[in-house]
């Protein structure tokens, strides 16, 4: 950001929101809130600020507030897990490719380019279609399997995005004097990568990882809108997909999940941006 202060009000706000929604995601079931599956038949189409239903109730009788809390659980869970696993595999490939160079590097790099040549949402959509359908197209697929395939597909999308960043960053560090020195002293490759390269690449990866969390949350919601997301309208994207059909009469069923989703993506993007800015300044000082 443009100011010289490291942490500004938006940074605290972003951090606060993420902490808060993570708290909801982790401790949601323990809160004194009814399950999101409870149908409140007496409160159909209740507007926001109705007593007992702060965020209102949609036309199916689902309480929006419970939905948001449960959605935090799923959306954040999916996002953090996929970015974690995808980031791990991606950086493993990217860093080793940058360190060893040669044919291995060009294979890894080409593989990244191949996957990146298909827009991430299209790729995720295709992967979900391949993995999450039964032999009979009309037979329902169990929820856990759809969740698992969704996460695998999104992981495949994330691997080249973070892998490429890791590779680019590791390339610059592998050429530094201390790496050359360590190598000439006979330090083992695994040690050099682990002790000298990983600690330097990690901050960049964490910064970009925040951005990737935003990408995954949006992709998951888009897949829900396309009808291949997590079923039962459980995630924020699922709530949006369900609320869309009733936009004219119950807009609140739509805008609460949209706000939650937008705030989360803005927060992760902002934190990623701040971290990257700090890194750039550190680099400049070195």
């Amino acid at each position: 950001m443009s100011t010289n202060k490291t942490y500004t009000v938006p940074t605290y706000a972003a951090f606060g929101w993420l902490t808060f929604s993570t708290f909801l995601a982790v401790f949601g079931p323990l809160l004194p809130v009814e399950s999101f599956r409870t149908i409140h038949g007496d409160f159909l189409d209740a507007k926001p600020f109705t007593a007992g239903h702060w965020f209102g109730v949609d036309s199916n009788g689902y309480d929006i507030f419970s939905g948001i809390i449960n959605g935090a659980r799923l959306s954040l869970f999916v996002a953090f897990i996929t970015v974690g696993i995808g980031g791990f595999i991606g950086s493993l490939l990217g860093i080793t490719a940058a360190y060893y160079r040669g044919r291995y590097d060009s294979i890894v790099n080409t593989a990244f380019n191949v996957v990146l040549a298909v827009p991430n949402l299209v790729l995720a959509l295709a992967l979900v279609a391949v993995l999450a359908t039964n032999v009979d197209i009309n037979e329902a697929v169990p929820t856990w399997r759809r969740l698992a395939t969704l996460m695998i597909s999104l992981t495949v999308v994330i691997i080249p995005i973070l892998g490429r960043i890791a590779r680019a960053s590791a390339l610059t560090w592998s050429g530094r004097e201390f790496v050359v020195a360590a190598r000439s002293m006979g330090m083992r490759d695994r040690h050099i990568i682990w002790r000298h390269i990983v600690p330097n690449v990690l901050p960049v990866l964490i910064a970009v990882g925040f951005l990737a969390v935003g990408v995954v949350i949006i992709a998951e919601a888009s897949l829900s809108l396309l009808g291949v997301g997590i079923p039962d309208g459980a995630s924020w994207g699922g709530m949006i997909a369900r609320g869309r059909n009733d936009l004219e009469y119950n807009p609140h069923a739509l805008y609460f999940p949209i706000i939650a989703l937008a705030l989360t993506v803005i927060s992760t993007n902002h934190l990623g941006d701040v971290l990257r800015g700090r890194l750039d300044r550190r680099e400049a000082r070195l």
């Binding site: 100011t3 295709a126 009808g227 004219e248 993506v265």
Partner: protein, 321 residues
Amino acid sequence: MKLLGAVIILVRALVVLFLVTFMITVLVRLLPGDPVDTLMPFATDEGREQLRSELGLNINIVQYYFRWLGDFVRGDFGQWYASTGDGGGVPIGQMLGVALPRSLFLMFYTMVFSLTLALPIGIFLGYRADTRIDRTLSNAMFALSSIPSFALGLSLVYILGLRLDLLPVLGYVPFTESPGEHFKSMVLPVLSLSVGLIAGFSRLLRVDTIATLREDFVTMASSKGLSNGWILWRHVLRPSSATLMTSAALQMGGLIGGAVVIEIIFALNGFGMLLNTAIVTRQYLAIQSLVALIAVAFIFFNLVVNVLYAVVDPRVRSARG
């Protein structure tokens, strides 16, 4: 030297294209179930045999891939099978003839609209860097660039379409039918896709403008007494737009993905909707050809930008030798 570099870039792009299309072929093959049962449950034995050979189920995947590639390069994208039909179907090329222009219009308008707004905003913010207006607008831009296009699209549908009843919220009107209605039907989709792009583009341009403004030739120009507006448009914009152009090319991929969702929200029946239908109903050949088309377009855009770089910024030309 220069020619060699161009050839290497081209060869690399071709290799990636080969691998992408092959990957898609494998992926489509992995779809569970017997394609013949899925596509034509009521076909006769003859129809089944015909479909079997058309989908290359009786030959190995490499042979099939090259046969498909041959057809694809010649512009034969295969058939869209009707479940009630018995062999054959609608050529995908014919369906593209309807769907593709809609998506191309959508993307063209989106890109033109975003760039026309992003250029002045980005330059202005760079010029006024670190003033209050820059900080306010930059923060707003940042928030806007993070909001997914479907969220924006749905909000716009509600406010402009349903509450104020200003614009149609569904459907597409061809340009030839009624230009006025055509533009009206495109306003909301284009707006939903553009806002994020405008914000992203102007942020990039702002950063590069700040860097360019520190260069000697700008001091030189202003000491010659040229007006600020002239300097910004004629001297600063061009060298500052390299990052913007890369981003615009990369965004084309995201735009295709985002457009799938937007086309469905606004029922535009374009390329994205066709692709989604193909995937959901397992139109084997259609999935393969449509995803391949996207990859070709995406790689092509990146190549074009590589060339445009040198045109826009002469310094790149000399630096690359």
